[in-house]
């Protein structure tokens, strides 16, 4: 029973309620400590010098003047981060991304760093570093980078995923093909075939908290890092490898995290801070500016996608294909592959083929961004789905329902689905009052679907019971948006005690076994599962203590509603022992009572969402305004519904921003033109309506409570939902994201011409 992951349809007492979050008070009073809020005695201020060039050979770096400046305690270049990666390709990429070696690969690539007694001195020192560059040709556009004569971004990269292995390097880092059946035959059998091409521009996660850390390393090889991260154990392992430190001697403490959305799953300047600290033998604080965040931390890919869908007049799709070109920045990634895997995941297709091309360009290393790669693919597919439905004169929702994947469908990326939520979300959309609400003048409505995998991973959890019966739950997955409340609910549920009796802490890497990051919507799924098992482990001990107290066999003891109860007639007189009583007696029954769990939480359920969007467009200026928005998504089981709704709303808002206004704009020199919140236009409060949510609960069969990840899927449908709404009101199919007013205006004019 202890580690049984199977879903059991049980009645919940705590799970599903909406209590206040345990970290709420700290966060409304300003005392919660985020990445930049930690200070150490004798700390220095670190600053990073970054390349102003998109692509340049670094001929020479002269740091001598900077080193001589009074107050400067350390200056480092790539020489201070020697290659210890031992042939590990990904790790070497990380190393080179942290600090340029022989070449600067994008505008914003770090080339040197200083640590000084204060910020003005550090700024002065940066100016004294002389870097001699030789400019190289660059490429920032994904389609340009695939052309035969394009400047080569990484001469060490040969295309993977093709056979035979290529003989010369290429900007195409990987080709990934998915699908089944015979698409050519399928297109032949179609009554109508629609082909469309799309482009999406690069978007950034845009977390409000810039990266920040405080590093302290001594000559004895021991070190500490306080950092804002989605995964402090991963940061520890990566940093230790890059700096040649022993894992156990580097303790990483995660601060509160001011948003991550995937952008804080990778190390960026943390190894630099550690290297500076090691060289100076002083603690070093390193905070990025917003400009640095945009120029040198992972945005998501810009893309170029071709879609082809064939359909019978009766509405059944006969074949579907897509070619998806995603840029990875200057280092190989898996982003096109993810696009190719997710593109048609919502549909039940006999013949489907997707090919992803991961392409290198002179832009920052792409990082995961909330359901990475899925929104762009969904934009292309879901826009085309509407076009196809229109071609055969079918309602787009009915068309989707007719072709939706269900239990037993062979997914477009391979495996066969278990119970899934796409059908139910579509049925809910069909019934939703939003779909029947009257539209005002100049308004249009669109809907679209989205998919994301979710996953589990390594998780380690402790549960300690205090002498007063209160419970300390110690977890190693970062709380990005209320997970401590959800995990406390789960512990309370399992133990049968009030939510208020549980205190959940996120602990440092020295206090718990390895935990994977909070990514892939795994935080509550995996730590939730691990919390259940840790609680059950503690319950076993509690039952043993009760048995010892009563001097009966533990086989006769069960845990029921927060109490140990003796089974059977012969024990009728034994009054159940509550957790409080057992805890109080624990000093004399064997000492502290604790539960522990160390698991690989596999079996995360896939997640689907359908969104509805109403948009208003100014007929003369093409100014847009989202006037109503509804998210319908399968959560498996909503542990704390407030924070599930919050995930739905937040993802939708990010998708809306991406759809309408957010984009990286590079000039002809490969320099980023808008590295700030002024011109990288994330939605402000007055841009958005209230975002309605409908939580569906189709239990995940592989989690005791039926939990699926909920964090990511909500960003997948908005791009297409807005594109479809714009098509409804303006009569044009937008094929370029963001669908900014100048682009809409242009499309309308071209349509009229």
């Amino acid at each position: 029973m202890a580690n049984d992951t199977k879903f059991r349809n049980r009645q919940f007492k705590s799970v599903g309620t909406r209590p206040p979050r345990p970290d709420g008070l700290d966060k409304v009073t300003g005392r919660a400590k985020f990445g930049a809020d930690t200070f150490a005695p004798g700390q220095l201020i670190g600053l990073v010098l970054r390349s102003p060039h998109a692509h340049a050979e670094i001929k020479r770096i002269d740091t001598s003047k900077a080193e001589k400046l009074n107050g400067v305690k350390a200056v480092i270049t790539s020489k201070d981060l020697p290659d210890l990666t031992n042939g590990d390709r990904d790790l070497y990429d990380t190393l080179e991304n942290c600090m340029a070696r022989d070449r600067a690969l994008y505008d914003g690539h770090a080339v040197a760093a200083v640590a000084a007694i204060d910020a003005p001195t550090a700024r002065k020192a940066l100016k004294l570093i002389r870097v001699t560059y030789k400019l190289l040709p660059h490429v920032t556009d994904v389609d340009e980078a695939m052309k035969p004569n394009a400047p080569l971004v990484q001469p060490r990269v040969y295309t993977r995923g093709v056979s035979p292995k290529p003989k010369s390097p290429s900007n195409v880092a990987k080709v990934s093909e998915f699908g089944h059946g015979d698409v050519e035959a399928g297109f032949k059998a179609a009554d109508v075939v629609v082909e469309k091409s799309y482009k999406t521009e690069q978007a950034h996660q845009g977390y409000i908290e810039p990266h920040a850390c405080l590093a302290s390393v001594g000559p004895d090889g021991h070190g500490e890092l306080w950092v804002t991260t989605q995964g402090h154990f991963i940061y520890r392992n990566t940093c230790a490898s890059l700096l040649g430190m022993e894992v156990a001697k580097l303790k990483v403490t995660s601060s509160e995290i001011g948003g991550g959305f995937g952008g804080k799953t990778h190390v960026w300047m943390e190894p630099i801070a550690l290297a500076l600290s090691r060289k100076a033998n002083r603690p070093v604080k390193l905070e990025m500016t917003r400009d640095e965040v945009f120029r040198s931390t992972g945005p998501t890919s810009s893309t170029s996608i071709d879609v082809k869908i064939g359909v019978k007049k009766n509405g059944k799709i006969t074949a579907a294909s897509a070619h998806l070109r995603y840029q990875d920045g200057a280092f190989p990634g898996i982003w096109a592959m993810l696009g190719a895997m997710t593109a048609y995941a919502c549909y039940d297709l006999k013949n489907v083929k997707t090919v992803g091309y991961d392409v290198l360009v002179n832009r920052p290393k792409v990082a995961a961004y909330r359901a990475p790669s899925a929104p762009m693919a969904a934009f292309a597919i879901e826009s085309t789905i509407n076009e196809v439905a229109a071609e055969i004169g079918m309602d787009p929702v009915d068309f989707r329902i007719k072709n939706a994947a269900k239990e037993g469908t062979k997914s477009s990326y391979g495996p066969t689905y278990g119970p899934i939520g796409i059908g139910p979300t579509l049925a809910a959309v069909k019934k939703h009052p939003h779909m029947r609400a009257k539209l005002e003048k100049n308004q249009g409505r669109g809907m679209a679907c989205g998919f994301w995998f979710n996953f589990g991973g390594e998780t380690c959890t402790d549960l300690n019971i205090g002498v007063d019966g209160t419970v300390t739950l110690t977890v190693g997955t970062i709380d990005v948006g209320g997970a401590r409340a959800s995990l406390s609910l789960i512990a309370a549920e399992e133990l049968g005690i009030p939510y208020e009796s549980v205190k959940c802490n996120i602990t440092d890497t020295g206090s718990l076994g390895h935990n994977d990051m909070t990514d892939g919507s795994r935080g509550t799924f995996s730590s939730g599962m691990s919390t259940i098992f840790a609680a059950r482990n503690a319950i076993e001990e509690l039952c043993q203590r009760a048995a010892d107290t009563w001097e009966i066999s533990v086989k006769d003891v069960v845990w029921d509603d927060g109490k140990a109860t003796a089974k059977g007639k012969k024990h009728k007189k034994l009054k159940p022992l509550s957790l409080d009583e057992l805890a109080g007696g624990s000093p004399n029954t064997g000492g502290p009572i604790a539960g522990h769990s160390q698991i690989v939480a596999d079996g995360a359920g896939v997640s689907f969402a359908s969104h509805i969007c109403d948009i208003e467009v100014d007929p003369e200026t093409s100014a847009t305004k989202v006037v109503r928005y509804t998210v319908v998504q399968d959560a498996g089981k909503a542990i704390h519904p407030d924070y599930v709704e919050g995930q739905f709303q937040g993802g939708a808002a990010q998708g809306i921003g991406w759809a309408l206004n957010e984009e990286y704009i590079y000039d002809e020199n490969g320099r980023l033109q808008n590295p700030g919140f002024l011109d990288y236009r994330v939605p402000v409060c007055s841009d958005l309506p209230f975002i309605d949510t409908q939580i569906l609960e189709i239990p995940n069969p592989n989690h005791p409570y039926g939990i699926r990840g909920v964090g990511e899927t909500s960003i997948v449908p908005p791009l297409a939902a807005i594109g479809n709404a714009l098509s409804d009101v303006a009569g044009v199919r937008m094929t370029h994201v963001p669908m900014s007013p100048p682009r809409i205006r242009k499309a309308i004019k071209e349509n009229q011409a």
């Binding site: 206040p20 300003g30 809020d37 977390y207 409000i208 001011g258 917003r290 924070y643 007055s686 209230f690």
Partner: protein
């Protein structure tokens, strides 16, 4: 370089500090006075995470010099609660789950208070425009606007 001596009132407390002329009020609050509740999200007045009031007016402390605080009154998130009683905005932000990561929360609370001080009964649209200078990337603003509305209602009852 010699710093400048500044005498000011922060959250009602007489406070003295020495800072360089080029330091922002945000830097002074965070690095010299230990008041890290005000956050730097951009340093350019675009995100509102560093919002404080200066003589009662809402400002971005990243766009104010520390030396400008001389003889004036600064109020920060650390002074929003009244002793052990949270400000109704603070309670309602918790109650309505108006925060996820919480980095923008201090700025939103200060800006919301500035709004309710001058407009006790704002419409949804007035709330949204008054808070347009505060970016939140987690919530889609939905629960924030609801929490401010609920607070306005609570305060009107008093």
């Amino acid at each position: 370089m010699a710093g400048t001596f500044v005498s000011t009132k922060i959250n009602g407390d007489q406070t003295e500090f020495v800072c360089q002329a080029g330091e922002t009020l945000l830097e002074v609050l965070r690095n010299r006075l230990g008041l890290t509740g005000s956050k730097e999200g951009c340093g350019t007045g675009d995100c509102g995470a560093c919002s404080v009031t200066l003589d009662g007016r809402l400002v971005c402390s990243c766009l104010v010099l520390g030396v400008e605080a001389q003889g004036r009154k600064v109020n920060t998130i650390e002074g929003l609660a009244d002793g052990d009683a949270l400000h109704p905005l603070q309670s309602n932000f918790i109650k309505h789950a108006a925060l996820q990561c919480g980095i923008c929360t201090p700025g939103f609370l200060i800006a919301s208070k500035a709004l309710l001080d001058r407009n006790p009964n704002p419409t949804d649209e007035e709330i949204r425009f008054a808070l347009a200078g505060n970016l939140c990337r987690c919530t889609g603003y939905d629960k924030i606007v609801r929490a401010v509305k609920a607070t306005a209602k609570d305060l009107r009852k008093k």
